[in-house]
């Protein structure tokens, strides 16, 4: 990661205004969004949107032609081009042919994408943004920090300073008054403008219509007052059918701002009369700018299903800390990272793709059903393909892949770490490693790794067998969790085997784009885990479970390797996460927990991969309650803890504030124990709790259940 980029992150996370405004907004957003979607089957709705947008993405040429025909039949002039430069030239030519001096704009990300304003201004044309947020950042000489709320990073005091200069009068920071000032200042600009420029939220091929949505009412004025209207529309806004407008309108305002409908929606089809009785000079520009290329890419085609609601920004635990400017000048957040890589260039996404912690929160709310985390992973993979794996990372993988060497090094580190170790934690590390223990203690390396400890555990001979996939954290930091698993499984009549040559699940390599390394890990693990005939392959780490269950397959598929696919599928079928299996064993009467226990209050933290990829959230809760704990839910129980594997090492300045928010949500419940199903989350949260000093036990569900087995 570049130093300049790191500095921009540092600046953002230390900007209290920014993180305060975004934090508050993101909390309210979740509640309001849920309310706006009440009574609507969101899954069904987004399935329809994904379908109709995907159809459009596969038929861009056809729909563009149809749109052009239909819009031109009603008097519009339609211009399609792939080239942003040609868009700018076209608009300037229309302006110059009509002696345009002033332009008013309603909000358009497409014009931001091609940097239209500076281009027109340098040709001597005055351009006035009229969306309040856009106007504010135009006055401030900044770029949007959010696709829907461009000035969300600014305080009312900053806005009042800007407006005061504009009107030559000292204004207070009274928001209604500031809004009035904007109305009064922009009204003459609206009435005087020679040309209006808008974007387009939807373009309908069947009818040649464009749909414009605003809350302020500025698009109505932009399209009604000047005699010329130019609408710049990215071709991904095309849909085939007019009736489908209703489908998009059902989701877009709800997802964007938690409204049932934006205050103003206009569906414009061809020319309309001007105030003087003449007909509007209407130009619609269908801009490609690599969207067709994207549509032809089997992985990235789905990104064209985006309806630009920005909900992926609103639910992102990273975005709410860093805001939009860290992402660049135009598109921001999760989808913005992907759009920047395409509309600008792949290289531009090199730093920003690293901001994604892969928690999957965006994927859950995307009304276009885009797998944003997966596409960001694909960007990583392609970046690595283009540029290779950095040398240091390569060295790390080769160590991780060699279990003996890895363990040897960890042991050495554990001994070397002794002076810094206090009980079960490493609290401080020297020099450049200090960041790693800033706000979070690291677990001490276990004196005896699970693989050694396993050999000393005596199990009864049982007919049914399951293989245990430990993963590095349980193997080297939390072997007691592995011991708990054996205790529970034996009780249910299952003998646990531990294939010694299991290796890293490949997640670290995969999440850094090193798919070849990840594929190597997959092959080694398939061989090891399928060697003996077992009923289950159990993992107590959701990230490892996801690797075994889904990612081995998708890694092979991404690389076009099919040799190991059948085995990968067999392994996938056998793989099960701990809580799901235990729930099944309890329900099936093979395992029972002590009855009538009163163990006090507990709160549960949902781990990202468990909740959102494996869709497991109720099983551990039910088991813990059955064991006698009284469950009290924390706020944002399924928001990432900030661990994200190596993320917490690469971006501690983001990981730590995410953790702190989690800690305070846990503490607010008053529970004495917080449970979770992931040793990575345990490492992050237990380490945070240690430095925080709060007397709350951080436990893996497996340890808590092992204590409550009915003997």
């Amino acid at each position: 990661m570049g130093t300049e980029f790191k500095e921009s992150i540092h600046k953002a996370v230390n900007n209290a205004n920014l993180t305060g405004a975004l934090g508050k907004f993101s909390e309210a957003y979740k509640v309001n969004r849920a309310k706006a979607y009440e009574g609507i089957d969101f899954e069904e709705l987004r399935e329809r949107i994904a379908e109709l947008k995907s159809y459009a993405a596969s038929h861009l040429d056809e729909l563009s032609e149809k749109f052009t025909q239909n819009a031109e039949a009603f008097g519009a002039k339609v211009f399609r081009t792939n080239d942003p430069a040609k868009v700018r030239e076209y608009i300037l030519k229309v302006a110059q042919d009509n002696s345009v001096k002033t332009v008013i704009k309603s909000k358009s990300m497409a014009t931001e994408e091609i940097h239209l304003n500076p281009y027109l201004e340098s040709a001597g044309i005055e351009v006035e943004e009229t969306d309040l947020g856009e106007w504010i950042i135009q006055l401030a000489g900044q770029t949007p920090s959010h696709m829907v709320m461009p000035a969300i990073h600014m305080t009312k005091e900053e806005v009042s300073d800007l407006f005061s200069k504009e009107v030559n009068e000292r204004l207070t920071s009274d928001i209604p008054r500031l809004v009035k000032v904007a109305r009064e200042q922009l009204r003459p600009a609206f009435l005087a403008a020679d040309m209006g420029i808008s974007g387009g939220n939807i373009a309908v091929a069947e009818t040649g219509s464009i749909v414009l949505m605003t809350n302020e009412g500025n698009a109505r004025l932009v399209t009604s007052l000047p005699k010329i209207h130019i609408a710049l529309v990215g071709i991904e806004k095309l849909i085939e059918k007019y009736a489908d407008v209703a489908t998009i309108l059902k989701a877009l305002p709800r997802s964007a701002t938690a409204q049932l409908l934006t205050s103003y929606v206009s569906i414009i089809t061809g020319q309309t009369p001007n105030c003087d009785g003449s007909m509007k000079d209407l130009h619609i520009i269908l801009m490609d700018n690599r969207r067709s290329e994207m549509a032809a890419d089997p992985k990235f085609k789905q990104a064209l299903q985006c309806i630009r609601c920005a909900s992926c920004l609103n639910v992102c635990p990273v975005f709410r800390l860093v805001g939009g400017h860290v992402f660049g000048k135009v598109y921001t957040g999760g989808i913005g990272t992907i759009l920047t890589a395409w509309f600008d260039e792949l290289k531009k996404s090199e730093d920003i793709q690293g901001l994604c912690i892969q928690c999957g929160a965006c994927k859950d709310v995307c009304p276009g059903k885009i797998d944003i985390p997966e596409l960001i992973m694909e960007l990583r993979r392609r970046l690595v393909q283009e540029q290779g794996v950095p040398l240091l990372q390569k060295a790390i993988y080769s160590v991780v892949n060699n279990r003996k060497l890895f363990h040897g090094m960890l042991r050495a580190a554990s001994i070397a770490g002794k002076p810094f170790t206090s009980g079960k934690f490493i609290r401080h590390l020297p020099l450049f490693l200090a960041d790693l223990t800033d706000g979070r203690s690291l677990p001490a390396i276990a004196a005896e790794p699970f693989r050694d400890r396993f050999k000393k555990i005596i199990q009864p001979e049982l007919k049914e067998k399951a293989a245990f996939y430990a993963g590095c954290l349980i193997d080297f930091a939390y072997p007691e969790m592995g011991a708990s698993l054996i205790k529970i499984m034996n009780k249910a009549g299952i003998e646990v085997i531990f294939p010694d040559d299991q290796t890293c699940c490949g997640a670290p390599a995969r999440y850094n784009g090193a798919y070849e390394t990840a594929a190597g890990n997959a092959v080694d693990n398939i061989k090891a885990l399928l060697r003996e005939d077992v009923t289950y392959v159990i993992s107590t780490c959701p990230t490892c479970t996801v690797a075994l269950k889904h990612e081995f397959i998708s890694t092979f598929e991404s690389l076009g390797q099919s040799d190991w696919l059948p085995q990968a599928r067999i392994l996938s079928d056998k793989t099960v996460d701990f809580s799901t299996l235990v729930k099944k064993l309890v329900d099936g009467g093979r395992l029972s927990l002590k009855e009538g226990q009163k163990l006090g209050t507990i709160t549960y933290h949902d781990s990202c991969h468990l909740k959102r990829t494996l869709k497991v959230s109720e099983q551990p809760r039910e088991l813990l309650q059955k064991a006698g704990y009284e469950l009290t839910e924390m706020f944002e129980c399924d928001t990432c803890c900030g661990m994200g594997g190596s993320y917490s090492l690469k971006l501690p300045e983001i990981s730590v504030p995410i953790l702190q928010r989690k800690l305070s949500n846990i503490k607010d419940t008053g529970a004495l124990i917080v449970a979770m199903d992931c040793p990575g989350c345990v490492m992050q949260i237990r380490g945070g709790m240690d430095q925080d000093g709060a007397d709350i036990k951080v436990r893996h569900t497996i340890e808590l259940l092992a204590e409550q087995l009915d003997m």
Binding site: L132, T155, N215, E216, S224, A246, S266, I268, P273, C275
Partner: protein, 182 residues
Amino acid sequence: MYQQFKARAEGVGAEVSRFATNAEALGFILQFLQNEALADTPQSTALWADCPFLAQVDRQTLQQHRGLTFEVTRELAADAKFGISQMEWALADTGSLVQNSTAVEQRLVSSLSTIHIALVPTTGILPDMPALLARVHPKDCAYLAMITGPSRTADIERVLTIGVHGPERLVIIFVDELRGGN
């Protein structure tokens, strides 16, 4: 559906009332204008865009109200406090009003004024957007306008603020006997 519409529209800050007859609605409007200080001075005038309602009431009685005019130009609209128009449909599930706004005068009175008074035939209430789109096709309507509550923004510190570029108030008047337009 009226009750649902009313709840939704009021939820986004619109003011909703309903009358059985055109005469009652007219009485309400004139009283409203008087209460809100209609006058023949800048920023106090009212502009009434041509609509079926006007053809169904006695227009003579309206001539005496100083400041109320029926001629709509952009200059007059920019200067008006009140804009009055008839909207053809209302969508119950979002509290939205809908109009074929191809005639620019209809847009001027509802976008430049400070208070937009919208007359709606009660028979024009539709359940939702799909019902609307099934009824109105773009080939018959170059500018389909939907209005849901007054103009709003949350662009400064996410604080909801009413009346940016469009009206600060949206006064919706349903009339049961009103016909026309839809």
